[in-house]
């Protein structure tokens, strides 16, 4: 039987494999559903998964292989921003469409590369959902920004600083750190000294939980802690940080209770199938699979130019929200999505902002002494 | 001006004075013997001359030039070659390569170095073994190679540290011949050795030290009959 081949590049080994795994499973889950529902106009859809091991040079090799050897009709995946860049470079040059679903550096869609499409919002927009919350509810005067100095962390922190300045919030301190640290206390001592209203942290999973645990130890008590997505929304964060995770806010791109068709079902099915929780990365991947299938169903031929046009004409609903690739600000082929605010309340992650989609009312102000008892 | 001299040379290791106020001079063309009990500081003197250890005080002069503070390799360039008490062959290089390496001291051309090396090997009667890797040599041959290597740097002063230890009497006799030959080719030699008949046979003058200090000096006969030397070093036979 003839198949339609699409290359998917994800880190399934190496340090980033944790999220690569979730995305890989989501892609596979989606693939089963797509093929069960008739595939691509009767042809079977096939995902050729390549491991980029979290390294740009390997990602590039993988892309080269998929394009020239396997002759895939398009590419998907792209987890780390650096790897995504490397893949995008090859894709653009070889004129093969590439749908990015996680790599979030703004620059990826700022190059006017017509073959590169992005499903997820760029990192600068992650705190958009937070913005209205701050202006309407908290009205903080001062803030501290902590970030891991990866591509994701440093560009995110810059954007948030700009946001703060726009909102008239004084940034008392903005400091990066090398991820994987054991002892964040020296950093947090300084935060305590600065005594800000808001602590905004862009951290991956375990740094996030250590930051909160050690804040508890040192009794760092701003009006609120907010995570910039990534680590703060995962179940492991709560598991590791325990009571230190309580009442912590986080920006997020997605939440299972959002009123998108199939969102809750995807979340439940994933849990049933693999026995573990999924989160926004998984939803991105799952949605990307359907966007790919949709475009391939609509394309005139499997030639790259036709596929590109089909992708560009996408206008559909997914578990991750509506998908439509447009040009706005400095970006092209970028999907525009709202972002949200979640909060850990009594050990559960709840969607708290915007109010109209909230799964539970937000808790504010917070009495840390009581929470951390 | 002496060809080579040390003046009030001192070397301290922590509190231990391994060389203590040692002054001696060597004339061009002679074979000068340095003897003394074990641990009296002979090897240390060599290490001071060749710059392995910094000098605590005093100075060393060679052909009117101070050697103090010169790094080892510069001392060699000045024209002083040495052998090691514990031989240090370049193990994975052949005998020829070993000697060529030191022949490069005076030339940068490979062919010239090879020629010089072959000449020295012939002189030291090692030609037959030139293609052996150095690690496969017997002790006797290793010591020969040490000498050959030191010679190939074209030294004017050669420091020999116990080159005869561990050789059979027959081999020692050959060694004595070799050293004579070296001297006859115009090279000055300072020799450290515990084997008395070698020292007595070879040396023009001898300095005997103990605890880093001079206890006697003079011709072989004078030193051999010196009471202090007999007590500290030679013993009664």
């Amino acid at each position: 039987q003839e198949t339609v081949k699409v290359g998917i590049i994800l880190p399934v080994t190496g340090e980033k494999a944790k999220f690569g795994e979730i995305e890989k499973k989501s892609f596979e889950m989606a693939l089963e559903e797509i093929n069960a529902a008739g595939g691509i106009n009767g042809k079977k859809l096939e995902f050729l998964l390549e491991d980029d091991t979290g390294r740009p040079d390997v990602a590039r090799s993988a892309a080269e292989k998929l394009i020239t050897k396997d002759k895939v009709v398009m590419l998907g995946g792209g987890y780390g921003s650096s790897e995504t860049f490397a893949i995008a470079g090859v894709a653009q040059q070889s004129r093969i469409p590439f749908l990015v679903n996680t790599g979030s550096d703004d620059k990826i869609t700022e190059k006017k590369w017509e073959y590169i499409f992005r499903l997820n919002p760029p990192v600068s927009e992650y705190p958009k959902g937070l913005e209205s919350f701050l202006t309407e509810v908290v009205k903080p005067k001062t803030a501290v920004i902590l970030y891991e100095n990866t591509n994701f962390g440093s560009s995110g922190s810059k954007e948030f600083k700009a946001t703060c300045e726009r909102l008239g919030i004084k940034v008392l301190m903005m400091e990066g750190y090398e991820h994987g640290g054991v002892d964040f206390k020296p950093l947090l001592i300084k935060v305590k000294q600065a005594n800000p209203d808001l602590v905004y942290m862009i951290s991956y999973l375990m740094d996030a939980s250590l930051l909160m645990r050690q804040s508890l130890e040192l009794r760092v008590t701003p009006k609120l802690f907010v995570g910039g997505a990534a680590g703060f929304t995962l179940p492991e964060f709560q598991k590791n940080a325990g009571k230190a995770s309580d009442m912590v806010y986080s920006a997020t791109l997605w939440y299972q209770t959002l009123p998108y068709p199939g969102a809750k079902k995807y979340f439940d099915d994933f849990k049933k199938k693999f026995g573990v929780d999924t989160e926004y990365h998984g939803a991105e991947a799952y949605a990307a699979a359907f966007v790919i299938a949709d475009a391939l169903k609509r394309t005139k031929s499997m030639g790259p130019e036709d596929v590109r046009q089909a992708l560009a004409a996408t206008d559909m609903m997914t578990v991750f929200g509506p998908v439509k690739f447009i040009a706005y600000d400095t970006m092209t082929n970028q999907n525009k999505l709202p972002t949200y605010l979640v909060q850990w309340i009594d050990g559960k992650l709840e969607l708290v902002w915007p109010k109209d989609v909230a799964s539970k009312p937000y808790v504010y102000p917070i009495d840390w002494e009581k929470v951390w008892k | 001006m002496n060809f080579f001299q040390t003046h009030r040379l001192v070397k301290a290791f922590g509190g231990l004075l391994a060389v203590n106020d040692l002054t001696f001079e060597v004339e061009k063309g002679e074979i000068y013997g340095l003897i003394g009990p074990n641990g009296s500081g002979k090897t240390t003197v060599f290490n001071l001359i060749t710059g392995y250890y910094p000098i605590t005080s005093g100075y060393i002069e060679f052909q009117g030039k101070r050697l103090n503070g010169l790094p080892t390799w510069r001392v060699c360039k000045q024209g002083i070659g040495r052998t090691f008490q514990i031989v240090k062959p370049l193990r994975r290089m052949t005998v020829l390569e070993n000697v060529m390496t030191s022949a490069f001291n005076r030339t940068s051309r490979e062919a010239e170095a090879r020629e010089k090396a072959l000449e020295v090997l012939d002189f030291c009667e090692l030609t037959k073994k030139q293609d052996y890797p150095a690690k496969g040599l017997t002790i006797g041959d290793r010591k020969r190679m040490e000498i050959a290597r030191a010679l190939a740097t074209a030294p004017e002063l050669l420091l020999l540290d116990e080159t005869m230890a561990g050789l059979t009497p027959q081999e020692q006799a050959d060694g004595v011949q070799l050293i004579r030959k070296v001297r006859n080719s115009g090279i000055t030699i300072i020799i450290v050795e515990h084997i008395m008949h070698v020292i007595m046979n070879l040396c023009d003058r001898i300095l005997c030290i103990n605890y880093g200090q001079e206890i006697a000096r003079g011709t072989p006969a004078e030193v051999a009959n010196n009471q202090a030397v007999i007590e500290a070093y030679l013993g009664k036979e």
């Binding site: 399934v12 080994t13 050729l48 390549e50 491991d51 091991t53 390294r55 740009p56 040079d57 390997v58 590039r60 090799s61 993988a62 080269e64 292989k65 394009i67 020239t68 050897k69 396997d70 650096s82 490397a86 470079g89 070889s94 620059k107 100095n149 990866t150 591509n151 962390g153 440093s154 560009s155 090398e178 | 060749t50 392995y52 790094p71 080892t72 390799w73 510069r74 060699c76 360039k77 070659g81 040495r82 090691f84 240090k88 062959p89 370049l90 193990r91 994975r92 290089m93 390569e97 060529m100 390496t101 030191s102 490069f104 001291n105 490979e110 170095a113 890797p133 290597r149 030191a150 740097t153």
Partner: protein, 326 residues
């Protein structure tokens, strides 16, 4: 130390016609990467295998070369190709400074110092955001869409590197390098300034590694500090290339480079998709096993122990090998 033989010319010729015969950009890409590793591995071997100063920090020079090229574009607004001119010399100068610091140390201490310096470079490149763009890395646009120019450039670089090393090793310097490796004290006594010659060896080594880095920038069009200054993916990989191929031999590192790059790619892609997926997931495991196997049974690498390997296959008994092959 034999002169270059006709077999070398045959290999060169085969490599030269390869991209004309094989049309797949994928295979060309793999060969380009392999050739780049030939340069890095051979350079590492000059310093570590021939001169005995085992470096765990060659990523420094690779990174410096890559960043020199990248910064040409971001800071000076000139083509990253100028990096091919500047990358080598800049790496060489940095090498001189690093040598000045680290050559006071011997053996494992030297190795540890190079690890530390390498990590410091990585951290600085990460932190000095204004200058290096930090973790955002440097992204340029590739000049050529075809692989062919990159291929011949890499081939030329590899050939120049091997030829230079061959020439150096047959000169006075070569003898001096080996002497320092075998016994530094003895070498000093023979009039060899170990510091000077170790520095020379490092400078040549850094120069070519820097060129490889500059090439990488131009070819990959994207770099960031975690990649080009990586301890694991550059420094240790350089050692693996050297050791598996055979340290202290001219053809060892090139052999090692091809084996490592090809194996890595083969396993990563699960034998080009012919084997089940878990093979791909296990590729680091297989790598580790390979390393252990080679070190355990072929201590001098594939080229260094070639005699031994041949004998195993022809069923004869191995005899102790003599001297360093070349």
């Amino acid at each position: 130390m034999k002169s270059i033989r006709w077999s070398t010319l045959v290999i060169l010729l085969l490599l030269a016609v390869f991209p004309l015969v094989i049309q797949s950009d994928y295979y060309r890409h793999i060969l380009i990467i392999a050739l780049m590793w030939v340069v890095i591995g051979s350079s590492w071997n000059l310093l570590s295998g021939y001169t005995g100063q085992v470096s765990f920090g060659h990523a420094i020079f690779f990174g410096i070369g890559a960043y020199t090229a990248g910064l040409c574009t971001t800071q000076l607004d000139i083509s990253a190709w100028y990096g091919m001119l500047l990358g080598g010399p800049v790496a060489l100068l940095i090498g001189l400074v690093i040598g000045w610091i680290c050559f006071r140390l011997r053996g494992p201490y030297f190795a540890l110092a190079t690890i530390a310096v390498g990590e410091i470079f990585r951290l600085v490149a990460t932190e000095w955001v204004d200058f290096t763009e930090g973790m955002q890395g440097i992204l340029i646009i590739q000049t050529f869409r075809s692989k062919i120019p990159y291929y011949y450039l890499a081939l030329g670089l590899a050939a120049a590197c091997i030829y230079s090393i061959h020439t150096v090793m047959n000169s006075k310097w070569g003898y001096y390098f080996l002497a320092i490796r075998e016994d530094q004290d003895a070498a000093e006594a023979l009039g060899i300034s170990s510091f000077r010659y170790k520095s020379l060896s490092l400078m040549i080594s850094a120069f070519f590694t820097g060129l490889a880095g500059a090439f990488y920038m131009n070819y990959m069009a994207f770099i960031d500090p975690q990649v080009v200054f990586s301890l694991h993916f550059i420094s240790i990989m350089a050692i693996l290339v050297g050791i598996i191929g055979g340290v202290g031999t001219l053809w060892g590192p090139p052999t090692g480079a091809f084996i490592m790059v090809l194996l890595q790619e083969t396993f990563r892609s699960a034998f080009f998709g012919m084997l089940p997926k878990w093979v791909s997931e296990a590729h680091v495991l297989v790598f580790g096993l390979l390393v252990i196997f080679v070190i355990r049974y072929m201590a001098n690498g594939i080229v260094g122990d070639w005699g031994k390997i041949r004998q195993v296959f022809s069923g004869r008994k191995a005899s102790p090998s003599a001297g360093s092959g070349n």
